[in-house]
Amino acid sequence: MQSNTGEKMNRTGVGTPRPRRRIARVAASASFLAVLMLGLFVGVASAQDVEGCLICHGDPNFTDPTPAEDQQGADLSLYVDSEQFLNSVHNGLKCSDCHEGFLLTIPNHQLDMDKDFRQVAIEACEGCHQEAFQKYQTSDHAQRFYEDQAGPICISCHGSHAIRRVNLGEESADFKMSMARDSCGQCHVNKFEQASHEFHFKALSLGYERAATCFDCHGFHDNLALTSGEPETVEACRQCHPGANKGFTYFQMHLEEGFQNAWWGVRVVYYFFSTLLVVVLVTGIAYTTVHFQKETRTILGVFGRGAGRLFGFIRHLEEESVREREGRPNGPEDQSKDEPEDDDRGML
């Protein structure tokens, strides 16, 4: 993998004449033997590890043995999850197919240390994925990367060792949703959050694979920021909605939950219907509750005075339980005096 080491790495360079070359040779043979021995004990996971990289890189605790002097914080982990790699689309490739230009020494290091590892990574992918690479060059992502290294590169979205197998045009809903969440959503946090309130992401999360995810509209590799009313936005919508016109693109996919970033008309509708919802339901439920307490009191034959009228039946139940505890018979004789004229008594 990439390394951030500085000066120190030169001591492992090949071809440097050294005074005690024999000792070095013996050491090299010994380590070769050690590698061979270790290889016998490494299991199924490394069956494809023809280069023996996983002997060291398969250890979860394996960190950069020669960290850069300016490196801050924890040691850089150089661990590669072999199981993830075996399940990835790149299963079958050798490590050096991507990690080109690494010295086959222990430890391995990148030859040209002046090159940024991200540039190395892009070039590694380019080797096979030329079309994607060419498209990437035209994207906003690439522009930002070449400007100030801030934009994402291949591995920022795709990951490195766990790249999944997918048939274009036949992506599962789960794949589409996880790409949106785990790749696009890692940087475009708000955009993802906003889009998840809209139909497409909701349907996707319920397993409807035809619903659009980020890259269905914005494209992948040559990603575009889409603006309402622009011809490319109409084209993006037309992929699924053949009759889409310019007006169609004024549908907003990325509105905040409270519609603060929306046209005022949307907010007015939102406030009106939210208020209506609360007012009508609260009124209805309050009416029902008051009706219910009247009926409960009627059934229990309890009538109080003042505020106690509303909750008289609670008092009644308490009194009843006290009577029960004390073993006295029921007898709410005095309460019948307060009973008003009431048709419903006959219905009980």
Binding site: S196, F251, G265, V266, F273, L277, G284, K294
Partner: protein, 256 residues
């Protein structure tokens, strides 16, 4: 042509009483809802339940129950199909009812404001106030006419609901047609209206309509009148006293 007798007793009854009364298991009933009324309510009820069970899982798709509910319907596509078919029948039921209403008002010259009408009139206001007074023991239970104010409210709520949910639903169903008529931002607006009004409708049915129609002590645990059309005379007398008096006065039922 019809036998002018009370089926329960065999006594004579006046002209115009027709099928107003029937006898089942020794009880006298008044036929309150015609077969059309019953069918119309049945279609409205079943299509409403169909929509209410297929819609919310999409609105609340990230909640744990939504996944299970969508699984029950066999996925978003199936649930969407059921939702649309149900909505189609519901709107058809509604349109037929508007024609029915128009026929009765326009052709049969039915009175719009009166005791037999579903339209609100001033008695509904006094009834509502009287009901609140009764809740707090400040007066007797109002003597209701044929339709109580909460029955009328539930009835007219359907008009509002169909106008709001139906219109926004069709707008979302055919988004490209909508965008040829108005700006695409109205699809966002339609989504807000459709969801909010649906929750309002479901909440109202669950917490208010079901209580007032089925769980009140007068009718608990269920009032089958909307399905059978028949209401026991004693129930009419206690629940809708003014209507009972009028039916007796008009000779449509025999006083108990």
């Amino acid at each position: 042509m019809a036998e002018a007798t009370y089926p329960a007793t065999g006594e004579e009854r006046p002209e115009g009483a027709a099928v107003a009364e029937t006898n089942v298991e020794g009880r006298d009933y008044y036929v309150r809802f015609s077969p059309y009324h019953r069918l119309s309510h049945f279609v409205m009820m079943t299509t409403f339940i169909g929509c209410a069970l297929t819609g919310p899982p999409l609105k609340y798709s990230y909640d744990f129950w939504a996944q299970a509910m969508m699984g029950f319907w066999g996925g978003v596509e199936n649930a969407g199909l059921i939702h649309r078919v149900m909505a189609g029948f519901m709107v058809a039921d509604f349109v037929i009812h508007v024609l029915y209403l128009g026929y009765h008002i326009g052709v049969k010259k039915a009175k719009i404001f009166g005791p037999d009408s579903i339209f609100f009139w001033k008695k509904d206001l006094t009834d509502a106030l009287g009901m609140v007074k009764w809740f707090f023991d400040r007066g007797p239970r109002p003597r209701f006419e044929r339709f109580t104010f909460w029955e009328k409210f539930d009835y007219w709520a359907v008009f509002w609901g169909i106008a709001m949910i139906g219109t926004s639903g069709f707008a979302l169903w055919f988004p490209t047609v909508t965008s040829t008529l108005v700006s695409g931002i109205f699809l966002n607006v339609a989504r807000i209206i459709h969801g909010d009004e649906a929750i309002l409708a479901i909440g109202w049915i669950l917490f208010v309509h079901l209580y007032n129609s089925h769980l009140r002590m007068n009718v608990f645990p269920m009032d089958p009148v909307i399905f059978t059309g028949r209401m026991p005379i004693e129930h009419v007398k206690h629940d809708k006293a003014a209507w009972y008096d009028r039916l007796v006065r008009e000779g449509k039922i025999k006083p108990e």
